[in-house]
Amino acid sequence: MEITLDVNGQTYSVVPEGRRLLAVLRDDLELLGTKLACGEGACGACAVLVDGRPVNACLLLAEAAEGHEIVTIEGLSTGRASAVQEAFVAEDALQCGFCTPGQIVSATALLERVPQPTREQIHEAMAGNLCRCGAYPKIERAILRAAGGG
């Protein structure tokens, strides 16, 4: 059954066949910035914005995303780099970079909701985005910097 997805402001017709949103984004739409790392909702590497909230695309059935506004890392990277992206580069808030798209998505959602987050608010909002390289101290600094406080 064909459904219609609104991704990064574009409309796509896809046949989900029971697949998760992540598989449709990566395999059908070739939006490869969103990563599959665990497939079990534990790491946040596949975070996308669904109506502005960060969601693990590996857990969401593509059909359930119909009628919602989906934004991926590509949708956040169309023009100039955002303040969050610039801060991630300046603070070296990444190492291997595999988790970085998910981190940017979650950080963007946080700053949209809480423009001046405290450290505790950052920890709570970002605890679902694992970084095995351990870039966390700099991710925290980058978010504070993007919020104008770093």
Binding site: R19, A23, E30, I73, A81, F98, A127, C131, R132
Partner: protein
């Protein structure tokens, strides 16, 4: 170039081999003076590819998508040991979308015909068959159609049982000097400590992965590996090809931490299925497969006995380690800290590599040495307690001035400076005040640990620099940047030597096709191996550029220098953009190639360091919170302090997790790991991060060729767990018999 072969020693994670190094005797690049005023080296620089990474534009192996590409899924053993009774390959092949299947009877079908898959799997997760299909879903359906029937055989996963039964992967080793037994008997003070350390999984977020495709007898493979040249050689050997007929691409790697060496099973299987089907094939481990079969730091059971004089002089070290190897693998040097960290003439170190029904152990950041330090440095603290001596003072007292195994001097050693710096930054002098009753009711303490590792690098390592008419330089390297930022370090070194701004230098790596060799990204050897080669290559280009500038400006070359993209004469008469010379090149380029010279004979090269941890223990809940880690490491000259601090933070956090949360748990009844997933194997989150304070002695290694740099990948993970355990003991007066310090273990220890 005046080429000569020189016999030298090559070191990788403590294993030395004699190799012939190709040396350019005409290369007169001199080392930077320790106090040289460098324009770029030593100043923080963001990654050259940062903008692409934060935009999600970089392509990892798992993202490589080729026309007509098939997707592979792996059938893995559900049992710790078994024998395949039946497997329905035809049913799998008949599954819609399935294009190829290889099973336990399959061999690599070109010349070598070596087995690839197991008929008698010896650990849970061992690959039995691989299915390639149009989609991943179809491949998984094919795996299900295989309808595996496995006869389950007896297993052994308990290392004590393996020791009792004397089941070893190799003969136990006895590394002794002097007479430790007699020295222990004669010692004025003795202590003993036993510790079990956990199996720790590398858990790269990008799992092991490969994409392979053939063009006739030419094989191209994208491999998520730390060693693309090893991967190339592995594939060439497996398929009977010339190395020049294999191209490996490894531009972006989503973490490795030691676990991704060579081409791996994934590239072999993908290449074989690609050959069989005539289509490109992508094989990506799913998370469960990765946690079962991606690798691990082996669990150990260690004991240490120390003897000392009343004044603190260590007189005897007797250590043993039982290592749960799994089915094999390198035996990493668990007892190197016992053998080399402090001055002692009478030492015995016994290592028992027990064979168990787990995957062969493989490297995980400071393999062996980290888990050995966790036990040995706790024993040193126990000795300090028995002597009523300050733990740092005990370490200073027993400082080793020369290598304790060979008797050779160190190329450089700033460990005493590390102790002083760390003590000052941590407030070590007043650490006992932490043990006074705290307003929040928590028990606080502070502990330290020392670090020793190799990290000197060496040949072979090559680089080529190419300067074009627009004054932009491209540095071609054999680096695969697994997240450490070494491409950016090479950019800094090349720009420094060329006198160009960073923005005019771009470094490429991640491709074996140019055949500019770089070492495996492991053993803390990339920076010390590659940077001198980059410098030499850039120096040749600079010399040529100055010669041409001399022609253009009609001035003696000796009177010219290049800084920040401008050519200047010493009398100030000439001050011109580099492009005033390079624009005359037209379509020509100025090329220079450089190689890494050997390390000098007669020295051993080591990195050193000290970390100090402060912890708070909730005795009612059994929770240990690390509040602060001070990390000071002697790694010679720092090329990029920004990337260096990232390395240290990452190592500290992985070491902290080894002390507090990470442990592969294996069900003794079935022999099957029960937490081989990301939701129950606990790696740190951002909320777990302590304050991390980082510093260095900043003393370049004057005996290493031309850049004075040592490696920093391994050092920061090594002392963290021991420092935390020592801080826990300082806070509570107790020591746990095993790591990690989970709540149940802490409550048991404090009961």
């Amino acid at each position: 170039m005046t080429a000569r072969f020189v016999k030298t020693q090559k070191e990788m994670e403590g294993r030395y081999e004699d190799v012939w190094a190709l040396v350019d005797e005409s290369d007169d690049t001199e080392s930077w003076a320790p106090d040289a005023e460098l324009a770029l080296v030593g100043r923080p620089a963001p990654r050259q590819d940062g903008a692409a990474r934060v935009a999600g534009r970089v392509r990892f192996t798992v993202d490589v998508t080729l026309a007509g590409m098939l997707h592979a899924a792996v059938l893995r053993s559900p049992a710790a040991h078994g024998r395949v009774r039946s497997l329905d390959l035809e049913a799998a092949l008949a599954t819609p979308g399935v294009r190829g299947v290889i099973g336990p009877e399959s061999e690599l079908s070109l010349t070598t015909r070596s087995p690839l898959l197991a008929t008698e799997p010896a650990y849970a997760g061992e690959a039995i068959a691989v299915v390639a299909a149009d989609t991943l879903e179809a491949a998984r359906a094919g795996v299900a159609a295989l309808a595996l029937d496995l006869e389950v055989l007896p297993h052994l996963v308990d290392m004590q049982e393996g020791l009792n039964e004397q089941r070893f992967t190799k003969d136990p080793t006895d590394d002794a000097r002097g007479d430790a037994e007699a020295a222990l008997a004669a010692a004025e003070v003795t202590v003993e400590l036993s510790l079990d350390t956990p199996a720790q999984l590398q858990t790269p977020l990008e799992p092991h992965a490969a994409v392979a495709t053939w063009d006739g007898d030419l094989l191209t493979a994208w491999v998520s590996t730390q060693g693309m040249f090893t991967a190339r050689d592995d594939l060439a050997m497996a398929f009977g090809l010339r190395t020049s007929d294999v191209r490996v691409l490894t531009q972006y790697v989503g973490g490795g931490f030691g676990g991704k060496q060579g081409c791996g099973f994934e590239a072999l299987a993908a290449a074989e299925l690609s050959r069989v089907t005539g289509r490109p094939v992508r094989l990506v481990n799913d998370r469960h497969g990765e946690q079962l079969d991606g690798g691990r730091r082996a669990a150990t059971r260690q004991s240490v006995r120390l003897g000392a004089k009343r004044d603190g002089t260590i007189t005897a070290i007797d250590a043993d380690a039982v290592v749960a190897m799994g089915q094999g693998g390198w035996i990493f040097p668990v007892l190197i800290p016992a053998r080399t960290l402090y001055r002692c003439a009478d030492v015995r170190a016994l290592t028992f590599p027990v064979k168990t029904n787990l995957r062969p152990q493989n490297a995980f950041r400071a393999p062996g040495v980290m888990e050995g330090t966790a036990a040995f440095e706790q024993a040193i603290d126990e000795l300090a307690l028995a002597l009523d001596m300050d733990p740092l003072e005990l370490r200073r007292t027993n400082h080793a001035d020369v290598d304790q195994v060979s008797g050779s001097p160190y190329s450089s050693k700033q460990l005493l400076a590390c102790y002083d710096l760390a003590a000052e930054l941590a407030g070590w002098a007043t650490r006992d005040e932490l043990r006074e009753p705290q307003p929040d009711g928590l028990l606080r303490g502070m502990g330290c640990a020392s670090q020793i590792w190799w990290g000197g690098g060496g040949p072979p390592s090559h680089a080529t620099v190419r300067l074009d008419a627009e004054g932009n330089a491209t540095v071609i390297t054999g680096i695969q940047d697994i997240g450490t930022g070494t491409l950016t370090s090479a950019q800094i070194v090349a720009a420094e030597e060329l006198g160009l701004p960073l923005s005019h230098v771009r470094v490429v790596g991640g491709d074996t096709a140019p055949n500019v060799y770089g070492p495996v990204a492991g053993g803390s050897q990339t920076t010390p191996s590659v940077m001198p080669a980059v410098r030499s290559a850039a120096a040749k280009v600079r010399k040529t550029l100055l010669q041409l500038a001399g022609d253009v400006f009609e001035i003696a070359v000796d009177d010219l220098e290049i800084r920040d993209g401008r050519i200047r004469s010493s009398d100030g008469a000439i001050d011109a953009e580099v492009t005033e010379v390079t624009e005359k090149l037209g379509d020509a380029t100025i090329d220079g190639s450089g190689s890494r010279g050997p390390n000098p004979d007669g020295f051993v090269v080591h990195t050193f360091g000290c970390q100090i941890a402060q912890v708070a223990v909730d005795a009612a809940l059994g929770e240990v919170k690390v509040e602060r880690i001070v990390a000071v490491h002697d790694v010679g000259r720092i090329v990029n302090p920004l990337a260096a601090s990232s390395q240290v933070e990452g190592g500290v956090l992985q070491g902290m997790a080894f002390a507090l949360t990470e442990e592969l748990i294996v069900d003794p009844t079935t022999g099957v790991p029960v937490n081989a997933h990301l939701d129950d194997y606990k790696i740190p989150t951002i909320a777990d991060v302590p304050e991390i304070i980082i510093d260095y002695p900043h003393v370049p290694d004057a005996n290493l060729p031309t850049t004075g740099t040592k490696g920093l990948g391994e050092p920061p993970i090594i002392p963290t767990a021991a420092a935390i355990a020592n801080a826990f003991a300082h806070a509570t007066g107790r020591r746990a018999a095993a790591l990690p310090l989970t709540r149940d273990r802490v409550l048991e220890t404090l009961a």
